[in-house]
Subunit: 139 residues, 3 copies
Amino acid sequence: MLRQASTILPIRASRAGLHEFTNEVLDFVAGSGIRDGLLTIFCRHTSASLLIQENAAPAARRDLEAYFERIAPEGGAYEHDDEGPDDMPAHLRAALTTTQLSIPVKDGKPVLGTWQGIFLFEHRRNTPEREIALHLIGE
Amino acid sequence: MLRQASTILPIRASRAGLHEFTNEVLDFVAGSGIRDGLLTIFCRHTSASLLIQENAAPAARRDLEAYFERIAPEGGAYEHDDEGPDDMPAHLRAALTTTQLSIPVKDGKPVLGTWQGIFLFEHRRNTPEREIALHLIGE
Amino acid sequence: MLRQASTILPIRASRAGLHEFTNEVLDFVAGSGIRDGLLTIFCRHTSASLLIQENAAPAARRDLEAYFERIAPEGGAYEHDDEGPDDMPAHLRAALTTTQLSIPVKDGKPVLGTWQGIFLFEHRRNTPEREIALHLIGE
């Protein structure tokens, strides 16, 4: 019998950059009792985003952060800077990555590959608390 | 009782760039009678794309447009230009953003954050009419 | 009556770059017997990604490949290079494109536009076999 579960997960990164929250997502799926279905993760913000990336190598994480700092830098000639110099680069980095991820669930777990972790990509230096909507449909 | 609703939404941007259509999406969800579920928005084109972004600041919108014009410029040394100088940059900008968005729906509305709007990112100057497929599953 | 189907599709690109697998996806949908619903395609890797792009013009494909080679080049000053010079650029190109695609299904087929094909974007030169998770919910 197909059914749904959903929640809002509050997350606060300790600093700007990639913040893994795979375990919180696994807990939600396990707690739902749904074993097979489709999980959706949605970031309710335009200055933070989501990324599935390498969960093992801290150097890969640092390179990813440095890369996005370089291609969407602070100090560009932006018109919009209502909230400071990290405001517009945050929107650009969010646009280049993603606001939403959907992952099939099998046997009570998202079918992530061995090296895949789920990350909040926090683009603001003041790291506000973020709301991540989780939705699961299945049986 | 879970069920589905779907439609094809025709959209034409008045000029190349970001064109908000959040209201059209809200109307579809409200009209479906489905209160809780998962909404999917799919762009049936490779030279236009989708983006969830800041819906309040026109300056942020202009900065986003200028940014993608800069990192995937017209006049690059492209091999493919069957449909003119804005052809290949359109495909690149679509590849850098997204073709599809899924958003959980709660109490009859997508759980967008306060500042999030849903945009068609039109990359062609002649702004053809676009088809956006909408799908909703829930109850 | 809503139901689900899922599988793991093994794919191996013959070389780094864009490798179309639209037909394999169409076969999965047709074989499921589900006529209307939501299809999700998920790449279980962090050094390969997914892209919906122009399926007709080989020149557009070559331009896309050249573009991502240029904006996330080998030989950048990366800290992470455990698996060689194409290791970190692979993660960056995956982050700039997407790990997951969802497409509404109507009358037994994903509602792709006329020119849209589904591609594995292989970022490693040794082109390992990749696992693509497919999930379909509908009726």
